[in-house]
């Protein structure tokens, strides 16, 4: 798994590529933590994401809790199989998905 990150001022774009599973979720979390300082608009682009398991949901939840206080967060280009995971877990109700 590779995590591409683009930061411009208060905008942070995170583009994970491959699978976010129990083995790679740490890299995903770290990419967010290392870059989230001062960010007001956080966007996750899941276009190149194969799938995400619960280990990765932890990172998304932490980011959502942080951004709810200081700005906004959204997830874009969510494939069906990932949307299924969001629906099962109720994450579809707490994330902004476009």
């Amino acid at each position: 798994m590779v995590v591409n990150v683009k930061k411009e001022g208060e905008n942070l774009l995170v583009i994970p590529e491959g699978r976010i599973d129990a083995a790679t979720a740490g890299d995903f979390s770290k990419a967010i933590e290392d870059n989230i300082d001062g960010v007001k608009n956080l966007t996750f682009d899941f276009e190149k994401l194969e799938y995400i398991s619960s280990a990765g949901l932890r990172a998304l939840l932490t980011a959502q809790k942080t951004m709810a206080k200081v700005g906004s967060m959204k997830v874009i280009h969510v494939a069906d199989v990932i949307m299924d995971v969001f629906n099962i877990t109720g994450f579809a109700d707490i994330l902004t998905i476009e």
Binding site: D21, A23, S53, A55, L61, I88, T89
Partner: protein, 136 residues
């Protein structure tokens, strides 16, 4: 026909398990989204075993792939000799809480239960045996 792989119960080995199972699923022309659902379920089950079954010592896991002739069903069976633990007895998480009160504990096995057709557990001969059944 049953195929199997036995390896150390460590998080780093998830890739090997997923590759082993994906090769079988691709051979059977499994639908791509069903394959990904199985991969996610496998990640949840295997990481649970790797993180909890034997801690603090190391141990092995055997993963079997059983291709059922009828109904295009496959069975994926995880066998470990760690502490007896039935993940199906875990209470389902509340998926309706507001964001501040959300936690991730318990979501993994819940995803497995919801995305597979059937999940079975038994403890036999000092082994945890968890079986995932899915129509492909």
């Amino acid at each position: 026909m049953v195929k199997e792989i036995t390896l150390d119960a460590t998080i780093e080995n998830i890739d090997k398990v997923v590759e082993f199972l994906n090769a079988e699923l691709i051979r059977l022309n499994c639908d791509e989204n069903v394959k990904k659902k199985i991969d996610i379920a496998v990640d949840e089950v295997f990481s649970n075993i790797a993180n909890y079954a034997y801690k603090p010592v190391d141990g092995k896991v055997t993963v079997k792939f059983d291709e059922k002739g009828k109904d295009n069903q496959v069975e994926i069976i995880f066998i470990d000799g760690g502490k007896p633990y039935n993940p199906l007895e875990r209470e389902d998480p509340n998926t309706n809480l507001p964001v501040e009160e959300r936690e991730v504990g318990g979501l993994g096995i819940y995803i497995v239960k919801k995305s597979m057709d059937q999940v079975l557990y038994e403890y036999k001969d000092k082994k945890n045996i968890l079986t995932l059944i899915k129509k492909i």
